[in-house]
């Protein structure tokens, strides 16, 4: 496991504890924003991983929304 993955897991667990979909969305967007300069600088490994994390955060946000949707 790479250090990037470890940071991702820590953040994911922290967010899962709060279960606020907006926060997941925000972090997902931040990942994509961070990936832009990294791709420009050809730092591909981290940039690629940031896009994976972004998708994971968006997916988590959608799942939480869907659970909330069922409750409503």
């Amino acid at each position: 496991m790479k250090p990037q993955d470890l940071i991702f897991l820590i953040i994911l667990l922290g967010l899962l504890f709060r279960r606020k979909p907006e926060w997941f969305t925000l972090v997902g967007l931040l990942c994509l924003v961070l990936a832009i300069p990294l791709f420009s600088a050809w730092v591909f490994f981290t940039a690629q991983r940031l896009t994976y994390y972004a998708a994971a955060f968006f997916l988590a946000a959608i799942i939480i929304y869907l659970i909330q949707n069922r409750k409503h």
């Binding site: 791709f39 896009t51 994976y52 998708a55 946000a61 929304y65 409503h72």
Partner: protein, 628 residues
């Protein structure tokens, strides 16, 4: 003579387009092969070509038919479908609806397939929002009329590409589940009627496909190595709706990630901020946004194929889900991303503007987005992927040379057939790797030098061997650039083959003649007299004189056991003779035979069913319109 140079899209001459203006046939004599193959599993794909080819009888050139019936409709349907889908499910705001149409029609995926000449795929993609729209209408007004309209849209999409049809059906299924409406409504109108209508309308190819069960996928199509090879897109490409071959669309040539495209998913997934499940007025729209966000993520994950992350998932699906091997080229899943983002991005921009309490006006926001969008597509303006070309005069002269002879023979193209090379059911062109399997001209020439080659090509009615003029730089290549030496080597190699004689040169096209070539029907016995009449690619009439007992008639088309020779007292299936068809005559004497391709009977029966279904649908829609 002009041609829109669109990658895979075909060019037709006024003389050969008429050969394809007919009802769909289960046998392909010349369109995709030079030696004839069963087309049972591809009838759907040529149906629209068959239909539009009829306009050639009005004297309309292919260039115009192409433009009016293929290019413009695909663009219009894609744009208007997305426009009305957004209007219908998100907002009536015209500007944002237009934005939806622009995103769906001008993203790098659609432009790549469209400009790459994959017109059937482009049409099927273009129909996705329209099918969604008719389905949403069906869920809202569940009645027979809505069900029929949805079925028609779905049927039209199936006509162009079954893979997009399956993708759309799958998406609609999940949409229904998420909307919790699926099981509440009548299954009769939402599921049974549409599937029945689709089956009936397409019965002209579905029935023969079921009855004759040809190998649906080409050999090796479902290999895992092939799948890995075709997984061109990386995750960063798919999430950014950036086609890996953009902009040049050279097969297999991918590029470094263009970071500006990451703004696209940022704009799309900002939409998740505006979901409000507590507000009763907003809840339905929020569910729609959740669906499209999920659809987009599913597309992102699948379109990358076997690449990371979790590439094994796609491999598992490919190996274990029946029919999933149809998606050997995973980029088809880009269509889900495009559909998703074409809804999410305008929704995000609209809500962003509202969120900022209109401190930034809509105009500025949309203007900024359009500038970014055009900037992201800037390479299209400097590349040469969209061109109108004049067909070289040399190909016009070659076409005239072939047509003027007005008799059956085949041409063999070394190393491969060129897009302007003339072909028809009377003069099929071999050169699409159906006979010579080698990849290079030099290896092919070695094959031609083999002892049995002259007899093989003579039996297959090959009269001319042609080296093409590579006017578009697609054939004689080294490092993807035209290499004149390769062309010269091909010409020199053929000049050394003793049974070939150089007879004509048209520009850089060199024509060699094989002096001894046989007709479409022939017999090893020279005393046998055979007269035949070509009715269509699936039917011939033969008059045979002086046949002896167990005489063999060879039919020089690719072997298929479903070819049948029939007369009043004879019904014989084809038997293989050197990879061709042949029929053994049981008695001495004269024969009047009909040679026909068996599955075509079922195509005709299916066409009757399809026509009756279509007529009933039109009558039913007209009746309900009159009632209104």
């Amino acid at each position: 003579m002009l041609n829109l140079l669109l990658g895979d899209f075909r060019f037709f001459w006024p003389e050969n387009i008429k050969f394809f203006a007919h009802v769909p046939y289960a046998w392909d004599s010349s369109l995709n092969t030079g030696i004839g193959i069963s087309s049972i599993n591809t009838i759907w794909i040529t149906s629209f070509l068959n239909l539009t080819s009829f306009f050639s009888y009005l004297g309309i050139p292919w260039f115009i038919i192409n433009l009016v019936f293929w290019i413009i409709p695909a663009l219009l349907i894609a744009f208007l479908g997305a426009f009305f889908l957004f209007r219908n499910i998100i907002s009536k705001n015209i500007v944002y609806s237009l934005l939806s149409g622009i995103i769906f029609t001008t993203n790098t995926y659609f432009l790549t397939i469209f400009l790459g000449g994959q017109q059937g795929v482009a049409f099927a993609y273009a129909l996705m929002p329209l099918v969604f729209l008719t389905f949403i209408n069906l869920l809202r007004n569940t009645n027979l009329r809505s069900s029929i309209i949805f079925s028609l849209a779905l049927s039209l999409q199936l006509l162009f590409d079954p893979r997009f049809f399956l993708l759309t059906l799958g998406s609609l299924f999940f949409y229904s589940l998420l909307q919790s409406e699926f099981f509440k409504k009548h299954l009769l109108y939402v599921v049974i009627t549409p599937l029945l209508i689709v089956f009936l309308l397409h019965s002209y190819w579905i029935i023969p496909l079921i009855l004759f069960k040809p190998a649906f996928l080409p050999q090796g199509f479902d290999s895992l190595s092939g799948l890995k090879f075709f997984s061109f897109a990386l995750f960063e490409n798919t999430i950014s709706l950036l086609h890996p071959n953009w902009p040049e669309n050279i097969f297999g040539k991918t590029y470094f990630m263009r970071p500006e495209f990451l703004i696209i998913p940022i704009l799309a997934f900002v939409s998740l901020f505006f979901i409000d499940l507590k507000n009763k007025k907003e809840i339905l729209q929020s569910r729609v946004i959740l669906f499209f966000a999920l659809l987009g993520l599913a597309g992102v994950f699948l379109a990358k194929g076997t690449n990371e992350p979790f590439g094994r998932v796609f491999e598992w699906l490919f190996e274990n889900i029946p029919g999933f091997s149809l998606f050997r080229d995973p980029t088809k899943f880009y269509s889900l991303i495009a559909l998703s983002y074409s809804i999410l991005i305008p929704y995000s921009l609209f809500n962003f503007s509202v969120f900022l309490k209109r401190k930034i006006s809509h105009k500025i926001l949309i203007g900024a987005f359009l500038i970014f969008w055009i900037f992201s597509l800037r390479l299209i303006f400097i590349s040469d992927i969209f061109q109108i070309r004049k067909v070289p005069e040399s190909y016009v002269r070659l076409k005239d040379f072939i047509v003027e002879q007005n008799e059956f023979f085949r041409t063999l193209w070394i190393p491969e057939w060129q897009r302007y090379g003339y072909f028809s059911d009377i003069n099929p062109a071999i050169g699409r790797y159906e006979l010579l399997k080698s990849g290079s001209a030099s290896a092919m020439i070695q094959e031609l030098n083999m002892e049995e080659s002259q007899e093989l090509f003579s039996n297959l009615s090959v009269r001319y061997v042609i080296v093409p003029q590579d006017s578009e730089g697609e054939i004689f290549l080294s490092d993807r650039k035209y290499d004149d030496q390769k062309y010269k080597d091909a010409v020199n190699g053929l000049e050394e083959i003793p049974w070939l004689k150089k007879v004509e040169t048209f520009g850089k096209i060199v024509v060699f003649e094989a002096p001894d070539f046989k007709d479409r029907f022939w017999s090893p016995n020279d005393n046998l007299q055979i007269d035949y009449k070509f009715i269509n690619p699936t039917r011939y009439k033969l008059n045979i004189k002086n046949a002896e007992i167990n005489e063999r008639i060879v039919f020089a088309e690719g072997y298929d056991q479903n070819w049948i020779a029939k007369s009043s007292n004879l019904n014989v299936s084809s038997s293989e003779f050197n990879k061709m068809n042949s029929f053994v005559l049981p008695k001495t004497g004269n024969y009047v035979l009909e040679i026909y391709y068996g599955p075509q009977k079922w195509v005709h029966i299916g066409l009757v069913i399809s026509s009756i279904t279509l007529a009933l649908i039109i009558m039913s829609l007209a009746r309900s319109k009159l009632k209104k």
